[in-house]
């Protein structure tokens, strides 16, 4: 029988894969993609908890909508930053982004 635990475990696994991508990848675009995966896992948790724990209200789905808006803003600004840095450095490798490091 599928219940809340299974949905939350699925969200946890997706979140863990996202963390791995953020920590291990060299390409800045891949890091942003992993962040999107983590936000998706959080949304999944919100909607699952809304269905199983707080049924009469839709606040979980409302939170998920707000998170989707923030994620869209984040990916737009992030990709624009990567394009701006690429114009300066001719690279998207995170090891080359060391302007503020000494």
């Amino acid at each position: 029988m599928i219940n809340l635990t299974h949905y939350l475990l699925l969200g946890t696994i997706l979140f863990g894969i996202g963390i791995y991508g953020v920590l291990a990848k060299k390409n800045a675009v891949a890091v942003l993609m992993s962040v999107e995966l983590m936000l998706n896992a959080v949304n999944l948790n919100f909607i699952a908890i809304n269905k199983f724990v707080a049924k009469s209200q839709m606040i979980g789905q409302l939170f998920a909508i707000i998170i989707i808006v923030v994620a869209a803003a984040e990916i737009a600004v992030g990709l624009a930053l990567i394009i701006a840095i690429f114009r300066q450095k001719k690279s998207v490798n995170l090891n080359d982004f060391n302007l503020l490091k000494w």
Partner: protein, 168 residues
């Protein structure tokens, strides 16, 4: 096992496989396509959770808009051979894997050991209407701030990507 259980397990398996593919493909275009599959799998799970509106938003915003944005950005910043554009850092790979595994196992153990008391009652029949009442009622400030945030972020993204003072 009922039919809905099998559907959930199948969708969850596809979603996780696509996510694993996203972090393990060496070609970043393949990674982006795998990410789209993962978004679609999450949308299917939203439909199973009786959140049809969220599922449609997920398909439109994530699988539609955000993935196109990512693929365009990949095309704009590609400078050399595409086959090896999504490599893992040689040393941080193991460190990151261990950290991700520990966090996943810790959260998973916490979830399994928690007793969730299911609530009484049902989701409202008119789900989109219920969301709209919340958005335009108690949470109207959050709604307006989200709209403003999106506007500012997109204008800022255009200025960042275009470059200031380079009118050539």
């Amino acid at each position: 096992m009922s039919l809905s259980d099998i559907v959930f397990l199948g969708t969850a398996l596809i979603t996780i496989m696509a996510a694993v593919g996203m972090v393990s493909f060496k070609n970043i275009v393949h990674s982006a396509l795998s990410l789209v599959f993962s978004f679609l799998g999450v949308a299917a799970i939203y439909f199973q959770l009786e959140a049809g509106f969220l599922g449609l938003v997920q398909i439109l915003v994530y699988a539609g808009a955000i993935s196109v944005l990512i693929i365009f950005a990949i095309m704009l910043v590609m400078d050399r051979e595409v086959n090896e554009t999504n490599l893992s850092h040689p040393k941080k790979k193991y460190c990151g894997g261990i950290i991700a595994l520990l966090i996943t196992l810790g959260l998973g153990a916490a979830i399994i050991n928690t007793v969730w008391t299911p609530a009484k009652g049902y989701l409202p029949e008119d789900k989109v209407g219920a969301i709209a009442e919340l958005l335009m009622g108690n949470y109207v400030v959050a709604f307006e701030i989200a709209a403003l945030l999106l506007l500012v972020a997109v204008v800022g993204a255009i200025i960042l990507a275009k470059g200031v003072g380079q009118n050539d």
